[in-house]
Amino acid sequence: MLLLQVIVGGLLLGAIYALFSSGLTLIWGMMNFINFAHGEFVMLGMYVALMIVVWLGGGPAVFGIASAFALFVLGVAIYLSLIRHVTRGPMLAQILSTFGLALLLRYTAFWIFSANVVSLPQTSLGGTLNIFGILVPAAQLVAGVTATVITIALHLFLTGTTLGSQLLAVAEDRNAAMLMGIRPDRMQALAWGLAAAGAGIAGALMAISYPWSPSVGETFGLTAFVVVTLGGFGSVPGAMYAGLIIGLIQALSAFYLGPIYKDIVVYALFAALLWFRPQGLLGKA
């Protein structure tokens, strides 16, 4: 029974990993662009949720949507003001620009919200469900299910709609897409908006269960990179599976071996997998 409990907890956590990682993989797939500020997007999503709860008294549905919307706008704004310009520069400039962006966002958050650890007051999702003896915190269940649904929806959007196809067309061949009458800038701005919005929702969902401070983005950013690499850069379903796998491995190894070993296990398996499949689980070689 305890084993089932550990597995359920790991999968729920993994679903959230999947959600915020899918945005990172989307930007990579679209533009071959590594976004080091992705963890910071998650962190900002958490603060948007806090502001909505404290100022407007909104519930999880309200602050989830508000975080998504606010981060979508921020993602588009960052693309138009910064990313669009540095993509013309050398690779190093691209890498360092988002690294600088991460520091800018993190220390702005320190400035505005202070370094204190904050957490959401008990919300309507504060309870715990007892499903056949397995305790599932309501907040985590909702977060896990929502994350799964949104990740799948993002995948369907990319593969099944015209707009999604246009996005992927730009990803595949920017010039050819331009010749087809697609405007790459708009598409890429949309990709940044979607990626940031995904991170924002993930942040809002995690804010229900986890206390945080502005430095939390570092931890999430690192996790997202591992998930994306394991799943295969550019693959949303890959990020989904990889998120679940990593959540599960972390939970099992933390329970059976102890929490300080969980990252050793995760990274050892990660390195071993990359040995055989350097492109990740579902990435294209």
Binding site: L2, V6, V118, S119, S209, S215, A251, L252, P259
Partner: protein, 422 residues
């Protein structure tokens, strides 16, 4: 002839020396150069909240020393402005952020001494950072005052320039054991304990001290769980605890992780008879508001007690509240106390000469009534550790901690088992 010449020269040399020392004395008295203290804290990063709160507390200590505060007369140096032993000189603090990173702490300590010419160093919250910063002061022969870092190894290295005012890991461990003995005598069942610790110097050191003390007292440690404080999920650890079912769980944790533990315990419906926090995270100003409705009755240690209105401690708390908007906590209080102890030693030294400062620290002998914290006094042994440091145990009731142990100092009755969210 030769003899007279020598004499004349000797007289001349003597006169010159006398004139020089007179001049120096006059200059000191006139200018009263400030005493420069470099303070290392984590002002950003995971422990930034505690670092910022401690910074405010040390600033308040300097304000009390530098200005006249006759209302705090029992605190040394509060009554008059400045340090009378140094012609009314003021304390001048320079705060440096080490981000909780031991190597940054070491670099900054070096910079403060070699470049900024600080007379003393102070800090540095995380034991791991204090551990790396103190050897620099030792090498340069500059006093380093440690306010709140509890790991044993900081003073265990034969250093001559490190002075630690706070109680340390072994003091805490033996306090817990005395408390458990008292509880057993009162008929509570304490068959086994669990120790959950963050895995840097602080958590490891206290956890090891607790394990060793438990072994000596024939108290089984059902499980010890070291973890990383930056973790975002602790469900597996809580399930491990649930499986072992100890009577007391001791948490040696920083802020975000301790909140996460209490919330996760509630989510997974695991409530041990007692949760005992080892200060740090449990004393962080964010902790109580975050868990008050689900952590009723959990315990913590503290040497700080606000006391009744009108007492010196209550007045200090009011000043701190006016400055920061919140009550002084134990961690910041221990840092503030250390800053006051430092000022008292500098004043007695009557100089910023390192050797005189060192001698003054060694001769420190403060009584409990001269302190704001609940120590039995301040007196350093040859390793630089305060041998009179001690602590109280407190319990969360409604939205604040109340002093419950030892019984002689208790304000309210201890409740056992804890209620938690029930």
């Amino acid at each position: 002839m030769a003899k007279r010449g020598v004499n004349r020269r000797a007289v001349l040399a003597g006169a010159t020396a006398a004139a020089t020392s007179l001049a120096t004395g006059a200059r000191l008295a006139r200018a009263a150069d400030p005493v420069k203290v470099g303070v290392l804290f984590p002002l950003t990063g995971n422990a930034a909240a505690a670092g910022q709160a401690s910074k405010a507390a040390v600033e308040l200590a300097a304000e009390i020393v530098n200005n006249a505060h006759p209302e705090l007369a029992n605190i040394p140096l509060a009554k008059d402005a400045g340090l009378p032993g140094l012609g009314g000189a003021k304390l001048e603090l320079t705060f440096i952020d080490h981000q909780g990173n031991p190597s940054v702490a070491q670099q900054q300590a070096l910079r403060l001494i070699s470049q900024d010419k600080m007379h003393l160093l102070f800090g540095a919250y995380q034991s791991s950072c204090t551990f790396t910063a103190t050897p620099i002061a030792e090498r340069y022969g500059i006093p380093f005052v440690v306010g709140d870092s509890a790991a044993l190894n900081i003073t265990g290295r034969g250093f001559k320039w490190v002075f630690r005012v706070t109680p340390i890991a072994t003091d805490y461990a033996s306090t817990y054991m005395r408390f458990f003995d008292d509880m057993k005598k009162a008929g509570k069942k304490i068959g086994s304990i669990a120790v959950v610790n963050e895995n840097t110097d602080y958590g490891t050191s206290v956890a090891e001290a607790v394990e060793a003390a438990a072994k000596q007292n024939n108290l089984p440690v059902a499980i010890r769980i070291p973890y990383s404080a930056s973790t975002t999920d602790v469900s597996a650890q809580v399930l491990q605890l649930k499986e072992k079912n100890p009577d007391v769980v001791i948490f040696i944790s920083y802020t975000a992780d301790s909140i996460l533990y209490i919330k996760t315990m509630k989510n997974l419906d695991y409530l041990p008879p007692m949760v005992l926090g080892d200060d740090s995270g449990f004393s962080d100003p964010s902790f109580v508001p975050a868990i008050a409705d689900i952590g009723q009755g959990l315990m913590n240690r503290s040497a700080w007690d606000i006391g009744k209105p009108g007492t010196t401690t209550a007045k200090i708390n009011d000043m701190y509240k006016a400055k920061t908007g919140r009550d002084l906590d134990d961690t910041s209080g221990r840092n503030m106390q250390a800053a006051l102890v430092m000022a008292e030693a500098i004043n007695r030294a009557g100089s910023t000469d390192p050797a005189k400062l060192q001698a003054a620290f060694k001769a420190t002998d403060l009584k409990p009534e001269q302190l704001m914290m609940g120590y039995r006094g301040v007196k350093f042994d040859e390793t630089g550790q305060n041998i009179l440091a001690s602590t109280y145990l407190i319990q969360l009731k409604a939205k604040q901690y109340e002093l419950v142990w030892p019984e002689s100092a208790a304000q309210t009755r201890l409740e056992w088992p804890m209620k938690g969210w029930k």
